[in-house]
Symmetry: C2
Subunit: 439 residues, 2 copies
């Protein structure tokens, strides 16, 4: 199976665990059999491998997620990187061009596209295989998954099939309705449109060339920022006459809010937390290194990270977005391809940051105009290059760098350091990158 | 008025804001008229000054609280420092010896003793003056305050007066009863014993000499650790025949739990916090520098500090102690006479701490056996002395100190630094202090 997972943008609905640089699909929140935790994207990839060990998985995403994907999935998945956000049709066009031109997939093969973040069981992946068979069968150009509604949701588009068979042709599509209209649709046998579909690669390449003037993947990538934003539903689905829908009645949860996310958690506590016996239906996800103590709470989610602390009634948690938008926040932690950082202290003219470099990784070679920096290595060994001078470093070593001085650090094993930034105008934008001579 | 405030030990009931080194009476939680916050001890001293501008205030406390008292009250109060904890009778004996021998108070003057932490109005201090008059009048050796009970509490001892007059002689004292017995006492006109009383200084000095073999304050201080622990009630009150009780019906709250403390707060939020409109009777006290977001909660207290995060139903919060006892915690922040510190990061072989030194203050001159240290000055100016070598320092300067090396830093204005401790056996006990040549 060729499967394209659409990995969406930053989410604020799961603040403080998701932020501008960490999307919800990368939060490690699901306990696995070996006792460790996996994220949504790790879970779905594990499930795909279980359903089809030889599946070719491609993740269509933005540049900001590439590090997180490599960190969590290794090199075993392809990544179609959107240079900027242009909605789902350009993203899918780019992904299919990537499959054809970079991965060399035969245009007659079928491609399945689905979001990266639904919480589903194994039967979902069996349904994906069925979709693949439908698309290969050729009766329709597009095979869609229609999810049996569990309530009259206002969050989804609806598919009205011609009949109630397991596989049916589509009569019409409906935009996100209000609850009353949704209930009416459901009475008529409507299904949720979860954005899951299959097609022959050639079909979608043709559609892409029809709507976009490009030669191949590299050309499309190069002109991506000139493309018009347009959704796949609008550009393709609503204009296609030959569509089949496959009815899916298995578990399918959209874990977009704390309320739904905690329903999917197998344990009530992730991280350092104590609950007394009077707590009921309480979930704590604590990424800080100090304990959370919860007493006498009901139907509450507590989530703590270096960005902040959320304490919310579970139902109320779905209304979080405007409040998080109202917080004017510096990014306090992030995972990078080379490791991670956490802001430990913010002062007017200094910033103290803990930096962890993965073994064999390094920072960019860079300088700052308006700040000096001090590194104190706290564990591990490696090498620094400062204005071209290389030296070995280990725990206890101190490196001071004046503004303008070019610097990097290369970790041998895992290396941790405290970085202290000093200056009147400390900004993440004050960074000039350079090539190293031997790069 | 000569007033002795008994300032008790560390409290865990207000975790994470109180800890082994910060008692509840020093938490700045009460909004003042000028918009700043004051602690219990600051509030009570302000109220005393308002009632009697020339009051001589002495705080009887342990060594661990001296820095906090100086920080919060300045030099305007006397401090009778108990070298170790020996219950209330030795503490009061030491305090009266201090008043007589250090402060030179006439033995015929009256002394009023009360706890440092009740939350009371101005009428309480008028009642203290009345107690003082009763003790001066000489009809009784002890004048006690009896607080009119508001419910059959199991937390207090009870005073049974001879009659229901405003001032009465005491018939008998009762230990903390169960609720049913308390209700019975209250029907008979019993009053709470809040530990508030007045006496002539001479009376208590005589009692002290009667029960303890000592010459003067300095002698008593020197042999304090040899004294037997005994409560004032047991040693004096229960054996004294001539006691008057003054009925007090004003506001008197014991702010020992989050439940009662938040009742006394004038605002629902102290620190960085946002509450949505569906929160009811929620209090947030946030000492961290990241926001708390509270949504849809009822009757909940949220408290966050570098020690941890409490989220509790208010009523349940009174059962906190065993849970906090179960947390095996390093002290993560503290106020000292010279400033404050906050632990920012704990690793196996390193500790990163933010240190703030007050203008003109300095650390002890000290060394460590098993750890190296690095200081990075992040703001302010001052001087370091390292193995006798003195140098001026300012923001950006880095000082490295090997294990065994003697070091201190002296702040000119307020000075902040990041201290990184490095070694295999980092412990707060690994500290050797030295005199400086010019001390």
């Amino acid at each position: 199976m060729n499967i394209v997972l659409l990995s969406g943008g930053s989410g604020k609905r799961l603040w403080p665990l998701s932020n501008d640089v960490r999307s919800k699909q990368f939060i490690k929140i699901f306990r696995t059999e070996d006792g460790s935790y996996e994220s949504m994207v790790q879970r779905v990839c594990r499930q795909i491998r279980k359903a089809d060990a030889s599946a070719l998985v491609t993740i269509a995403t933005s540049k900001t997620q590439v590090s997180a994907i490599h960190n969590q999935l290794g090199e075993g998945v392809g990544i179609s990187v959107e240079p900027c956000r242009r909605d789902t049709f350009p993203a899918i066009a780019l992904a299919v061009a990537y499959l054809a031109d970079v991965k060399g997939i035969d245009p007659q093969e079928v491609v399945v596209v689905c979001p990266v973040d639904p919480y589903v069981g194994d039967d979902y992946f069996e349904a994906l295989k069925e979709l693949e068979r439908l698309a290969a069968g050729g009766e329709a150009n597009l095979a869609l998954m229609g999810i049996e509604p569990t309530y009259p949701s206002e969050k989804y588009g609806y598919i009205i099939p011609e009949n109630e068979e397991n596989v049916a042709t589509v009569s019409t599509f409906k935009e996100k309705p209000d609850a009353a209209t949704a209930a009416e649709y459901i009475r008529k046998g409507a299904l949720w449109n979860g954005g899951v579909f299959a097609f022959r690669l050639k079909y979608m390449l043709d559609k892409a060339h029809e709507l976009i003037d490009f030669t191949d993947y590299h050309d499309l990538f190069a002109k991506y920022d000139t493309l018009t934003s347009i959704s796949f539903d609008y550009a393709v689905v609503e204009k296609e006459a030959k569509i089949q829908v496959l009815r899916f009645s298995g578990q399918w949860k959209d874990l977009g809010t704390w309320n739904t996310l905690t329903e999917a958690m197998e344990e009530n506590v992730v991280g350092d937390a104590v609950m007394n016996e009077t707590c009921e239906n309480v979930h704590v996800i604590n990424e800080l290194n100090v304990p959370v103590l919860a007493m006498g709470l009901h139907d509450v989610v507590i989530s703590a990270s270096p960005e902040g602390i959320l304490v919310s009634d579970k139902e109320q948690s779905s209304y979080i977005k405007p409040f998080v938008d109202g917080l004017d926040q510096r990014v306090m932690f992030a995972e990078k391809s080379w490791g991670s950082f956490r802001v430990m202290d913010v002062e007017e003219e200094s910033l103290t940051i803990k930096v962890t470099l993965k073994a064999g990784h390094r920072m960019n070679y860079h300088s700052h105009r308006n700040r000096d920096e001090v590194w104190v290595v706290t564990s591990g060994t490696g090498r620094t290059i400062v204005d071209g001078m290389e030296q070995e470093v280990r725990a206890g070593d101190v490196i001071t760098m004046q503004a303008g001085c070019r610097h990097t650090i290369i970790a041998e094993g895992e290396l941790k350091l405290v970085e202290i930034q000093l200056g009147r105008e400390i900004s993440v934008h004050d960074k000039q990158k350079y090539e190293l001579e031997y790069d």
